[in-house]
Symmetry: C2
Subunit: 541 residues, 2 copies
Amino acid sequence: MRWWGWGDPSQPPALPAHALAFLADTVVLSARPRAPVALGEVRLAPVGLSRELLAQLRAIVGARNVRDGHRERVLHAGGKGYPDLVRLRAGEPEGAPDAVVYPAAHEHLRALLELCARCSLAVVPFGGGTSVVGGVAPLRGAHRGVIALDTSAMAGVLELDERSATVTVQAGIRAPALERVLGARGLTLGHFPQSFQYVSLGGCAATRSAGQASSGYGAIERMVLGLRMAAPTGDIELAALPASAAGPGLRQTLIGSEGAFGVISELALRVRPAPRERIYEGVFFEDFGAGAAALRMLAREHALPDVARVSDEQETRVSLALAGVGGVKGRAGRAYLALRGYSRGCLGILGFEGGAREVHDRRRRALALVSGCGGLAVGRSPGQAWLHGRFAAPYLRDELLTHGVMVETLETAAQWSKLLALHSSVTRAIAGALEACGTPGIVMCHISHVYESGASLYFTLIAGQREGDEIGQWRAVKRAAGEAILAGGGTITHHHAVGRDHLPWLARELSEGGLAALAALKAELDPAGIMNPGKLLALSW
Amino acid sequence: MRWWGWGDPSQPPALPAHALAFLADTVVLSARPRAPVALGEVRLAPVGLSRELLAQLRAIVGARNVRDGHRERVLHAGGKGYPDLVRLRAGEPEGAPDAVVYPAAHEHLRALLELCARCSLAVVPFGGGTSVVGGVAPLRGAHRGVIALDTSAMAGVLELDERSATVTVQAGIRAPALERVLGARGLTLGHFPQSFQYVSLGGCAATRSAGQASSGYGAIERMVLGLRMAAPTGDIELAALPASAAGPGLRQTLIGSEGAFGVISELALRVRPAPRERIYEGVFFEDFGAGAAALRMLAREHALPDVARVSDEQETRVSLALAGVGGVKGRAGRAYLALRGYSRGCLGILGFEGGAREVHDRRRRALALVSGCGGLAVGRSPGQAWLHGRFAAPYLRDELLTHGVMVETLETAAQWSKLLALHSSVTRAIAGALEACGTPGIVMCHISHVYESGASLYFTLIAGQREGDEIGQWRAVKRAAGEAILAGGGTITHHHAVGRDHLPWLARELSEGGLAALAALKAELDPAGIMNPGKLLALSW
């Protein structure tokens, strides 16, 4: 993973000339490329741990598994949110862990957490490190130091119970590695967030992650059947069960705990037969409202595809222009859409996965329903293009940053009755905040997670950076969006989690009583407050 | 509701002569009918509340809504579990609430809980009063007195959001009343536990109830989108949302809290279009293993009907003999089954609900899959018979009690890989315990809630009562079953909840750390420990 951005360092740039030209027409590009500083120029405070403490950590996990070198600390200095990248590229992260520790087993976690609680060391659980909400910021709170607890050495598959369609894993396993193991047995987990190539399953569970195919496979909270957590005061072990009424839903209480209660060490996950057939195709709608109505109808009729997305007018226009996503960028395609009256329409992607016959039947039924809602099927090319580029956006963001362009995403979910008004009010709030910053930009949105009672809204904003005050600009946008989301009846986050960035809205969403309940849980499991300070349950904006 | 048993007092006896004859062949019937005592003979301790305290309660909810008459107290002296009925019929309940209080609004709850915390009054939230696990036992713990907080006056429909397919109700509303309101708008909740005719939705949510059509509609925890709870220290309010990643799944933490944290006052519930078509039909399998395998296949292929059940050999035999359930009790039907080699087989019921075309398609696909697993479709008559009798079993239990017959049910769920062994070991454990009591009996079982990773097992046992030691006999059976369930990897309860009866196994199921987490939540929300003492979080066997 690049220390200053996303993904594989060998990945070539992906922003074609026509896309750059489109952007130059739309937002202000920086006059000169703004490349990241060299790794050596990243400024970090000296390691704050005593030799004795480092020796104690090494005694637990082995000498090679406690690392405090410059590169290692920079790689754990933050997640992959916009402010993280702005700071890292400038060589000015807010902080870095004093050391990065790699436990290999649950017993290591127990010993580490006991040591850290005793010695007042903050612990930041670090899976794939892909948080976009400050979830892995190396904050020490009032503690003497802070370590990143990197779970990448806890990556084993412990049991594959094919009869129960359940796999038990160490929580540090990466999603692609797990899919490889499962694929060899004709199975899949079906969890494909945009960060798929790097996420750990423990991180997904800790943040209530939702994959791009959540309409079919469900979000991670539907996949976790059992789990094991090491908290400073002890372990919680919940065996894999299909369902239970043995008191409150404790599994769901730990899913979404964001490292603030303890470290998830093992997960039992529901798996499914790998799809033998995959059909992804494009549908055009006259406008966003028509697209949303079609998705609502599909959910109501239990005819949802596995992937169900609709972009709004702006996102449809920009995607077609930027990257050719949509596959109808050619002259002929556009002429066809114009002829049918969809020239300013909205692109939807419907993806069906499963057995050949089943996919065929579900596709036919869904397309009939969508067509009844005014949708125009435009064939597989847009679906294939979307599938091909589904994990590419973070790479694009890095390139845009080099051109002085701010790219940020934020998301919510709400009941259908509130969704279109929420779409408008959040769009206006973001656009207004950008204008107030003197950097008018593009605000676009799509629905990508669909439920019977409502759906998600995923906003992307693109604007010229306010040079020298990038973080202030970002904060203004984030604040405006968050206020509009809460005012409009949305959740502050559908699948990005709370982390640090959504703290200001949590009490309003969960009510003071709800927040007090979570605080009581934390106090029980982590009385010294060493677990991921400043996230989930502490205001730090 | 009958004070000494189940349901509508005008319901005629339902046990035909042939059924009684079958039972007399199988278990020992009491020589003389054992009718319940007269209501006036039920022995209760005098009301333990001072006139002043009663006046304070009346000041909150109005004079008519605080009742301490004999009949009222008897009606709230327990739930509808086997030991409850044994004690009540004998006129010897363990206790009764000092008063029954009927709040009408959330504000009443706030004032009541504050008063009760201040004056050391235990509060037993009482919805439909149908708990079969001691969940509404009027235990006072160390408090000065105990009130039943009956929610039946909190029964309003607050909002019906048809676009979002969401209804918001006061939590005391009964399931049939809600279905009537929804039905008038072409909607349904789809929650049909055996106790349907009496349950409150708040009680369902507090106990993680699952309806008979849970394979299609999901259990209650899938229906609750938002809720409001009044706890002694304050309110928790969680708005209706289709999904959220804003921290731990707090909704799921309150679902299943069994009145031990607070009183659920409002619920936002997902609703669905009422089915336009309903097809319920019977399928025979060679044995229970074949039936379970067929259900597993249906789940795996996403072809589950809305109702999916398979009885084991014993239950099939007994149901056919006892009540004609199955609809193939006639000579011709039996001859047909014998001819096809299913004379000792297992009966399954598959129920499909929805739009006519959709039901037709789903049914065809499911029957093809089931047939591939060796299932033999035997037409709609068994399905119709099951539908007709689906809420009748509790009436039957009352009649059997009169004949000196113990009838108890208990349930679990487990992964598919453990299910058949668990079925055997629990059956053996119950049968062994009955034999050890000198009352050998019938133990039978069905699967009725099906998941991709596993299923429920629902056991019914019938045996002659050990006169004079009915509770000891019951306890021996319950203990043996619980131990076998935990040893076999099952949950101590799939949908009956913990209440009082499952307390001995909770720590093993949730681990000590999990139990400590729940205890911390309770301490935060109910520091005086007034909420439903002796249930969920206190050992009292």
